[in-house]
Symmetry: none
DNA sequence: AATGAATGAGCGTTCATTCAT
DNA sequence: CATGAATGAACGCTCATTCAT
C-alpha cells in the first residue's frame, strides 16, 4: 500500500521540522517557519501534532523504530557479544552519519529533555537500547566478557562515547566521518572488557 | 579580603540562577523568579549580566576555573598516566556529585548549546579539557598506553561516559552515588588502553 | 463592494489609534489601550502593523491620498494660480478642521519625525505637496505672480502658516474655526506675490 | 563674577543635552548617554534638573532670554514696523543658524509639546513673541500696514514660515544657509501687508 | 481535510529615578 | 556636592495555539 495522502503530509511535516529544528534550534524555530517550508498551513501542523513540543517528540519514533528493528535483525545473524557490539556501534554511527539533521535533533534537543522521557518516542529508544544491555549481559554470562562487569556502566561507555562523538560532530558542522571511530572505539572497549 | 559587596551579589544571583535553571529548565525559568529568590530586583540582574542567556553562560566560569585549577594541582603530584586519569575522573565526578544543580545546568543546558561555544565560560572548560588530552598523550608517549591510540577518541570515551552517567543521574533526580562508577569505569578503560 | 472584513478591521484600528495618539500623545499611548478601545487583541494590531511606530506612520496614508486626489480634481476645474492657491488652502484647512485627531497626529507626531521621512505615508504627502509647488510655478510663468519669486519660499509661507495655525489650534483644544483664516491669509499672501 | 562652579556644570549638562537630544531624538536619548558625554554622573543631572523632560524644558530658557533681550534692544533703535519686522526675522534666523542643535531641539521637541506650554521656558518665548505682535499692531495703527489686518494671522505667517524653513533645515541636516530667505520672505510679506 | 484569521498569555528588557555613602 | 549602585514600573512584541469556515 502506498502511504495514504495524509501520512505523506505528516512525513513531510516531520522531515521539515527535523531540518528546521536542526538548523535553527528548537526554541528559535517557529511553527510558522516549519509550515512555510513544508508548504502547509500552521493549523495543519496542529492537526497532526498536539503541540510544538509534541512535534519534536514525534521526530524519532519512526526512524528509531526502523533502526532498532534492523539492529535486532542483524544481531540474530551474528555470533559473539564482541561482534554484536561492533555491529551495534556501526549501525548507530552509520545511521547518524546518514541523517545529520536527525542526529542533531536527537543529540541537542531530545536527550537531556526530561519531558521526552515519558514519550512513546523515548519508549522506542529505551526498548532498542535494551538490546545493547542484553548483548553485554550475554557476553558476561558466556564468559566472553569479564565477570563482575557492571553492564549498565559498559552500556554507558558505549552510548556515552557515541553521544559525545556525534554531539561534537553535529555541533561543529559534520566536518569528517563518524564511521572512522567505530573500529578504534570497539577495539579499545573490547580490549578492556573481554576475558583472556 | 572578603569579596566586595558587589561580587557577593553577583555570586548570589549566579547561585540562585543555577538552582532555578536546574529545577525549572532554562526556558521555563523566568528572570522574575530568579530575582525574587535571590532577593534582588530584576533590573539588578541586568546590571551584572547582559541577558538571560548571558546569565546562563556565566554560570560555569568560576567553578570550572576552580575545578580545573585543582585538577592541575593534583596532576602534578601524581605519577603515571593511568593514575592521573583516575584522579581526573574522580575529581569530575566528585565535583558534579557535590553540585547537582551546577551539573544539571552544565549537562542539560550548556553542553549542546552552540552559542555557548563562543563564550569565555566555554573557553575555560576547553582549556581544562586539554589537561585530559595531555595526560592521554603522555601515557602513549611514555609507553604506558598502547601506541597508535587516538587520543581524541580516548578522551571522548572518558568524557562521553562521564557525561552520560551524570546526565542520567541529574535527569532521574540523583538517586544514587556517582562516585561508585569511578573505579569500575577507570578499570575497564585502562584495561583496554594500557600496554602489557 | 463593501471593504473586505479584514480591511474594515484595519481601518478601525487606524481610526482608534489616531484618536488615542491625539488624546494621549504617541509615547504615552499604549498598544494595550488602542487594542482595548478598538475591541481587538493586541496581537491583531501586530498582524496589520509591524510596530507601534509603524502604526503611527500608517495613519496618514489613506486620508492624505484622498485629500490630494480631491485637490487634484478641483485644481483642474479652477482657472488662475491665485484661485487655485485659495482652493488648496481651503481644502487643507477644511480637512484638518473636519479631522481634528488626524490633524493633531500629523502636526504633533508626524511632521518633525525624521523616521517618517522614509515612509510611504510621507511619500504620498510629498507628492501631494508638489501640486502646490506646481501652482506657484505656473503662476509665476503665467505672469500672474511676480517674476523672480522663490517658489520654495512661497510654498513654505503657505504651508508654514497653515501648520502654525493648525498646530496652535490642536494644542489649545480646537476652540474656534480654522476656516476663518483662509481668506485673510490668502488675501495677504496674494497681495504680496501677485503682479500689478 | 565668573559663573559659580555649579553654574558651569549646569551649563555643560544643558549644552550636552541639547546636542544629544538633537542627534538622537528626545525619546531615544538616554540620561546615561548625556551623563557620559557631559562627564557627570547621572545622579548629578538630577541635582540640577527634576526629570528628563524637565531637562528638555530647561534648554530654551537662557538662550531665548538672551535672544529676546537682544531683539528688544534692536527694535528700539529701528524706525518703521517693516524694518522692525525684517530685523526680527533676521535675528531669529541668524540665531537658529548659529545654533543648529538648539534649533533642532526647539523645532522638533519643544514646539508641539503640550506640557511645554506650562513651562517657564515657554513663558520666556511667549513674552518674546509678544514683541512681534506689538510691532505688527504698531504698523497697523501707524497706517504703515493695511487696516483691518488680523495681527494674530500675520504673526502666524511670520512665525509659521520661519518654523517651516528651520524645521526643514534641521531635518535635512542643515545643508544651506537660512539667512538667504530673510529678505525674500520679508519682501513678499511686506508687499502683502503694507499700505500703498 | 485544510486553512486564514485571530488571540491569549507571557516575559525579557529598558531606563528614569532614588538614596546611602 | 557628587556619585555608584540599585530598582520600580512599564510595555512592546512574539508565538503557539484555536476555531469558524
Amino acid at each position: 500500500m502506498a502511504p495514504a495522502k495524509t501520512e505523506l503530509r505528516k512525513k513531510i511535516i516531520l522531515d521539515t521540522a527535523t531540518k528546521v529544528f536542526a538548523q535553527r534550534g528548537f526554541q528559535e524555530a517557529t511553527i510558522t517557519e516549519i509550515a512555510k517550508k513544508a508548504k502547509v498551513s500552521e493549523a495543519s501542523i496542529y492537526e497532526y501534532f498536539s503541540t510544538k513540543e509534541g512535534l519534536l517528540f514525534s521526530i524519532p519514533a519512526q526512524s528509531s523504530q526502523n533502526l532498532f528493528e534492523t539492529m535486532a535483525f542483524h544481531l540474530k545473524l551474528i555470533r559473539g557479544a564482541g561482534n554484536k557490539l561492533r555491529a551495534i556501534v556501526y549501525l548507530l554511527m552509520d545511521s547518524y552519519q546518514s541523517n545529520p539533521d536527525f542526529a542533531a535533533v536527537l543529540m541537542l534537543f531530545l536527550k537531556h529533555n526530561k519531558k521526552f522521557l515519558d514519550t512513546s518516542g523515548h519508549h522506542v529508544i529505551k526498548e532498542g537500547i535494551k538490546q545493547i544491555t542484553r548483548v553485554i549481559e550475554e557476553g558476561i554470562e558466556a564468559g566472553e566478557f569479564k565477570p563482575g562487569l557492571n553492564s549498565y556502566l559498559i552500556r554507558a561507555m558505549v552510548l556515552g562515547t557515541i553521544e559525545h562523538l556525534v554531539t561534537n560532530w553535529v555541533m561543529t558542522g559534520n566536518p569528517d566521518s563518524l564511521i572512522q571511530f567505530v573500529d578504534p572505539l570497539i577495539d579499545s572497549l573490547l580490549a578492556g572488557i573481554e576475558t583472556g
